[in-house]
C-alpha cells in the first residue's frame, strides 16, 4: 500500500508542480485551451465499459449492427470531448467583492462569471480547493454572480485557495476542469472572545475624566432620530403620541468616550488580547457608544458607526503580534 502510494506520489508530484506553474493568476481570468484539462469521469469510464461490452457481444455473435451501436457510443464519447470542453472554455471569472468575517467563520467571495459567444454554459461547478462545490446552473453573456464561501480559520488577510472550476456537461462522460489562482483577499477579524468589561480595561478616558458605561445622565433635550442612534435613546413616549421618532440627547458633561487599550490586557497572549478587544469593539458598537482603540504603534480616536467598527476590526485583524 505504501509502495503504491509512494509510486502514485512520485508520478503525481511532478505533474502537480507542472500544473501549478501553469495556473493562471489574476483578478479576472478567461478559460482557454491553455488552462482547461479534460479527462474521462467515472461515469465516462462506465460508459466506455458499456461500449466495450457491446463490442464484445457484437464480436461473439458476429453481429455488425451491434458493432455499429458500440461505435456510435464511442463516437458520442469522443464528440463529448469537444462539447464538454466547449462548456468550460470562454468563461471569464472575475473576482468582485470579498466580505470580511471572524476567524472560524467562512468568508464570502463574490465572483462574476461571464461566457463569450451566445452559447449558454451549463452545470458548472465551482469550489475552493478542499471545499464543497457549488453548482452554477447557467452562465451566459450577461454573466452571473456567484457567492463562494471560503473557510477562514485564522485572523489576518485571507488569500483564497486555488479555485477549481469544472463541468461534466452535457453527457457527464468527461470532466473538464481548471485551477485558477484568483487574486482577491478578505480580511479575517479575530474570533471574538467574551470578556467581562472591567473598569480597568475600559475606563481609561483620554483626558483622565471618569466615564460611565451608560453615558451621561443629564438629559439635555430632543433631537431628530437618525438611523444608527442607539435605540435606548429613542423617546418612545413622544413616538407613541405620534410626534415622530426623536432621540433624547444627554449632555456630554460626562465624557462618554471609551478607550480600549491593548495594554489593559497585559499578561495575556497576543491572540487572546486581540480576540477580547474584538469582542469589546462589537459590544460597544452594539451599545452605541463612542469608542477608540489603542494598539502598540497605532491609535484610533473614539468614534462610532459601522465604518469605524470595520476600521478597528481590520486593525485588530492585521495586527502583527506574534502570530505565525
Amino acid at each position: 500500500m505504501s509502495v503504491l502510494s509512494f509510486t502514485l506520489r512520485t508520478i503525481r508530484e511532478p505533474f502537480q508542480r507542472w500544473a501549478e506553474n501553469r495556473r493562471p493568476r489574476g483578478a479576472s481570468i478567461e478559460l482557454n485551451q491553455k488552462r482547461i484539462f479534460i479527462f474521462p469521469s467515472a461515469a465516462g469510464a462506465a460508459f466506455l465499459m458499456v461500449a466495450l461490452l457491446l463490442l464484445l457481444i457484437g464480436t461473439n455473435y458476429e453481429n455488425n449492427l451491434v458493432h455499429a451501436v458500440a461505435f456510435l457510443l464511442l463516437s458520442l464519447f469522443v464528440l463529448s470531448i469537444i462539447h464538454t470542453y466547449g462548456n468550460l472554455s470562454g468563461i471569464r471569472v472575475t473576482a468582485k467583492e470579498s466580505h470580511s468575517c471572524f476567524a472560524g467563520e467562512r468568508a464570502e467571495f463574490e465572483l462574476h462569471l461571464t461566457a463569450n459567444g451566445k452559447r449558454v454554459r451549463e452545470n458548472v461547478q465551482l469550489a475552493w480547493k478542499g471545499g464543497t462545490p457549488q453548482t452554477v446552473k447557467a452562465i451566459d453573456g450577461d454573466g452571473c454572480r456567484v457567492r463562494l464561501y471560503h473557510p477562514a480559520p485564522k485572523r489576518g488577510r485571507l488569500k483564497p485557495e486555488p479555485l477549481l472550476i469544472e463541468s461534466t456537461f452535457p453527457l457527464g462522460l468527461l470532466r473538464a476542469w481548471s485551477w485558477l489562482e484568483i487574486e482577491s483577499s478578505a480580511v479575517i477579524y479575530p474570533a471574538p472572545l467574551q470578556v467581562q468589561m472591567s473598569k480597568s480595561q475600559v475606563l481609561e478616558g483620554g483626558d483622565g475624566a471618569q466615564q460611565a458605561m451608560d453615558g451621561g445622565e443629564d438629559f439635555s433635550g430632543f433631537t431628530q432620530y437618525q438611523p444608527g442612534m442607539p435605540l435606548r435613546h429613542v423617546a418612545w413616549k413622544a413616538y407613541a403620541r405620534g410626534r415622530g421618532l426623536h432621540a433624547k440627547t444627554y449632555h456630554a458633561q460626562v465624557d462618554d468616550r471609551i478607550w480600549l487599550d491593548w495594554e489593559a490586557f497585559s499578561g495575556q497572549p497576543t491572540e487572546m488580547r486581540l480576540s477580547s478587544l474584538c469582542y469589546l469593539v462589537n459590544q460597544l458598537e452594539k451599545h452605541g457608544d463612542h469608542y477608540g482603540l489603542r494598539l502598540p504603534g497605532n491609535s484610533f480616536e473614539p468614534d462610532r458607526g459601522e465604518q469605524h467598527r470595520k476600521r478597528l476590526l481590520t486593525a485588530l485583524a492585521l495586527h502583527p503580534g506574534d502570530r505565525v
Binding site: 458499456v50 464480436t59 458476429e62 455488425n64 464528440l79 466547449g86 459567444g117
Partner: protein
C-alpha cells in the same frame, strides 16, 4: 454534492421514456409477468413522483428482486441464453427505476437501457429494427442529457440536443464501422432465438396433400460472379430423400451410417461462383446448384453431394459457394451397390408391373426413362389441387387420378425406376428464381420449392431427371410468379403476397426495389465482416496499420474540426447588437435604392449627414437617429429610452426609403 442531487422532473420522465422505448422490441419474447412487473414498478415510481405513495421499503424491494431473478430463471430455464440475459437486464432496470433518486441510479438505468436497446439487434437485423434501435439510442442519450441539464429544463430540449449530437456522431460511427477490423468470436455462443421454421420439410408425402398453397416468402438470394445460368439450369439442390415407406419420402439418419458406395466426382470447368444469402430456416440444409465444390466453415458435405450445416440456421447468413454444372458423379461397379437407392416397400403392384413391362420392351435405362417421360407428357395434368391418394398412392396416381404437382411426379418416377433396378432418389430443393434487375441478383422464394429425380445410369453416373418438366415445361422455363398468377389459390396464405409478385404491377416493382434495398443492407451492413477486407482493399489499396490509422484519423479529425468550428467560431456565436443590425438593414436598403450605403469606418453621425444632404426628405429622421445612437452609446442611456426611440426611427425611416 452528487449525494444530495435530485433528479429533475424532465430527467425522470426521460428515464421512463427510455425504459419504454428499449423494452418494446422485446415484448414478443418477454413473459407476461415481467411486463406486469415493469408496469407496476414504473407506475409505483410515478405515484412516488406525484407524491401519492412513498418509496417501497428496502425489504420489499429485495423480495421483489429475488422473485424476479427466480422468475427469469424459471421462465427461461437458466440465464445462459440471450433471451434470459435480456429478460434479467430488463427486470433489473425496471426494479432500479423504483429507486431512482440519485444521479448514480439514473446513470445505471440509462447505461443498462443502452445494452437492452442494442440486444434487440441480436434477434432482428432488418433495416426497420436498425432504424428503431437508432432512435432508441437517441432517446436513451436524451435521458442521459436530461440528467445533467440544469438550465432551461424542459422536456423537449434533451431530445433536440441529443438529435444534434447523434447527427454529429453518425459520420464518426460510419468511419469506425468501415475501418475497425472485426475479430472472430472469442468464445462460441449459440443463439437460441426461436426463429420461425420455414422452407423445405424433412419429409415429402404428396399423397396427403390436396391443396398446395404456397408462400411468397423469400427463401434465399443469389448473386452470381459472371454470367447467370439460364433459368432451366437453376436446380437448387437442398436435400435428397433416399428412403420411402409407402407414403412419405425422407432421409433416415440411422441409415446414413451404413456402408455407402465410394463415389468419385469428375467435373468440367468452368465452375460457377456465387454468393448465396440464406434466410433463417431453422433447418440445416443449404441449397446449391448441382455439385458444390467448396464447403464453407461450419458446413459439411453429405455423400449425396448436398451441404449440411452443423447447427440449424437461426439467422440470415451468407455463403460463398462454387458449383460444377458439368459433372459426372459415379461409383465404380454396378447399380447393385446402391442398396438404399433401390429398396422399395411392399405395395403398388400395378406400377411395378408396368415398369417391368416397359423396361423389357425398351431394353435400356435411357430408353425406359424416355418412355416414362413421354407417358407423363401425354396423360398427366399439373395442378396445385390434387386429389387425395390414400393406400397404394403410386398406383392410384399413375392409373387413376393422374393429376398432381412435382412431388407426385418425382415420387412416382423414383418408384418406377427402382422397380426395374435403376438406383434413384427424390431431390428436394428450389427451381428457378426471379431476377432483380435493380441490384442484379436472383430472389428465390418458398413457392419456387421443387422436387425432382436423380437416377444412376451405369456410364453417366447420377443424372437429373425432372418429370414435372415433361408435364408442365413452362413450370421450369418461366418464373413461377408469372406462371401461377392466374391461379386463384396460389399464394392464398399471403394476403399481400398476391399483390407483390404479379408481373406488370406497380406494387411488384416497388417490392423488387425494396427487396434490392434490404438485400444491399443485408450484404453490406449485416454481413459487412465478410466483405470488409475487399472494401478496405478497394479504399486503401493495401491494408497496412499505417493506412488504417490514417483512414481512421483523417475523417475523424475532419468531423471533429467541423463540430469544433460550429461551437467556437466567433462569427457564428457572436452576439449581434440589435441596434447595429437595424442600422445595417437601413444602410443596405438605402444602398439598394439610392446607392447610399454606409462606408466602412464611417460614423453614424457622418453617415446621417451624408444621407441628409442627398435625401433631404430623410434628413430629420437621420439626424435624430444619429443623435439617439450617440446618446445610447456614449451618454449612459440607463433607461434605454434612446435605444428604443432609435429603433422606432430606423423603422420609420426604412418605410420612407
Amino acid at each position: 454534492m452528487s449525494a444530495q442531487y435530485r433528479l429533475s422532473r424532465p430527467a425522470l420522465l426521460w428515464q421512463f421514456i427510455a425504459i419504454a422505448v428499449v423494452v418494446v422490441p422485446h415484448l414478443s419474447h418477454l413473459p407476461i409477468w415481467l411486463l406486469l412487473l415493469i408496469l407496476a414498478t414504473v407506475g409505483w415510481r410515478l405515484m412516488v413522483h406525484m407524491g401519492r405513495w412513498s418509496f417501497p421499503h428496502w425489504s420489499i424491494r429485495t423480495l421483489i428482486s429475488l422473485a424476479a431473478c427466480g422468475g427469469v430463471f424459471l421462465s427461461y430455464g437458466g440465464i445462459g441464453g440471450v433471451n434470459g440475459m435480456v429478460a434479467l437486464l430488463i427486470a433489473g432496470f425496471s426494479l432500479k427505476s423504483l429507486e431512482i433518486h440519485k444521479r448514480r441510479d439514473a446513470l445505471l438505468v440509462v447505461y443498462v437501457a443502452y445494452i437492452v436497446a442494442t440486444s434487440a439487434l441480436l434477434f432482428d437485423q432488418s433495416v426497420w429494427m436498425a432504424a428503431y434501435v437508432l432512435i432508441a439510442v437517441q432517446l436513451t442519450t436524451a435521458a442521459l442529457l436530461a440528467i445533467y441539464q440544469t438550465h432551461n429544463v424542459d422536456i423537449g430540449r434533451p431530445f433536440r440536443t441529443s438529435a444534434v449530437m447523434m447527427m454529429q456522431a453518425l459520420p464518426l460511427m460510419l468511419v469506425l464501422f468501415i475501418i475497425i477490423p472485426r475479430m472472430g468470436p472469442i468464445w462460441n455462443l449459440k443463439m437460441e432465438v426461436g426463429a420461425a421454421r420455414t422452407g423445405l420439410s424433412d419429409t415429402m408425402s404428396p399423397g396427403e396433400i390436396t391443396n398446395l398453397t404456397r408462400s411468397s416468402e423469400v427463401a434465399f438470394r443469389v448473386r452470381f460472379e459472371g454470367e447467370r445460368p439460364p433459368q432451366n439450369a437453376l436446380y437448387w439442390r437442398a436435400m435428397t430423400y433416399p428412403d420411402f415407406d409407402g407414403r412419405s419420402w425422407y432421409r433416415d439418419e440411422a441409415r446414413d451410417r451404413q456402408r455407402v458406395p465410394t463415389e468419385s466426382l469428375e467435373i468440367q470447368r468452368p465452375v460457377l461462383k456465387y454468393e448465396l444469402m440464406l434466410e433463417a430456416t431453422g433447418s440445416r440444409y443449404i441449397p446449391t446448384l448441382d455439385m458444390p465444390l467448396a464447403t464453407p466453415i461450419g458446413v459439411r458435405l453429405n455423400p449425396d453431394m448436398t451441404l449440411r450445416l452443423n447447427y440449424p440456421l437461426q439467422k440470415r447468413e451468407e455463403y460463398s459457394l462454387e458449383s460444377a454444372l458439368q459433372y459426372r458423379l459415379t461409383a465404380q461397379g454396378e447399380a447393385l451397390n446402391y442398396v438404399r437407392e433401390l429398396s422399395l416397400p411392399i405395395g403398388n403392384r400395378r406400377t411395378r408391373e408396368l415398369a417391368r413391362r416397359w423396361y423389357t420392351e425398351t431394353g435400356s435405362g435411357e430408353a425406359f426413362i424416355a418412355r416414362l417421360m413421354a407417358f407423363y407428357n401425354g396423360r398427366f395434368t399439373y395442378t396445385l389441387k390434387p386429389p387425395k391418394l390414400g393406400r397404394d398412392s403410386i398406383d392410384k396416381f399413375m392409373f387413376e387420378t393422374q393429376r398432381g404437382f412435382c412431388g407426385h411426379f418425382s415420387s412416382s418416377m423414383v418408384f418406377m425406376l427402382r422397380s426395374v433396378g435403376i438406383p434413384a432418389r427424390v431431390v428436394a430443393g428450389y427451381q428457378g428464381g426471379e431476377w432483380n434487375p435493380y441490384e442484379n441478383y436472383l430472389v428465390v422464394r418458398q413457392y419456387d420449392a421443387h422436387a425432382w429425380v436423380e437416377a444412376w445410369l451405369p456410364q453417366k453416373g447420377w443424372v437429373r431427371i425432372d418429370p414435372t418438366a415433361a408435364v408442365a415445361p413452362e413450370r421450369i422455363e418461366r418464373p413461377s410468379e408469372e406462371l401461377f398468377s392466374e391461379e386463384e389459390d396460389f399464394l392464398r396464405d399471403a394476403p399481400l403476397g398476391g399483390l407483390t409478385v404479379g408481373r406488370n404491377s406497380l406494387l411488384a416493382d416497388l417490392w423488387m426495389q425494396w427487396d434490392a434495398i434490404s438485400y444491399g443492407w443485408q450484404q453490406w451492413v449485416v454481413n459487412y465482416h465478410s466483405h470488409q477486407t475487399d472494401v478496405l482493399k478497394r479504399l486503401l489499396g493495401e491494408i497496412t496499420p499505417l493506412r488504417l490509422a490514417l483512414a481512421l484519423l483523417i475523417p475523424f479529425s475532419f468531423v471533429m474540426c467541423l463540430v469544433a468550428l460550429k461551437l467556437f467560431w466567433r462569427r457564428w456565436n457572436l452576439v449581434r447588437d440589435r441596434h447595429d443590425q437595424a442600422l445595417e438593414r437601413l444602410s443596405q436598403r438605402l444602398h439598394n435604392k439610392s446607392g447610399l450605403g454606409r462606408q466602412p469606418g464611417e460614423t453614424v453621425k457622418n453617415y446621417s449627414d451624408r444621407v441628409a444632404e442627398i435625401r433631404p426628405d430623410l434628413a430629420l429622421h437621420m439626424q435624430e437617429i444619429a443623435y439617439c445612437y450617440e446618446l445610447m452609446r456614449y451618454a449612459g442611456d440607463d433607461t434605454g429610452s434612446a435605444a428604443r426611440r432609435m429603433l422606432v426611427l430606423v423603422r420609420q425611416c426604412q418605410a420612407k426609403v
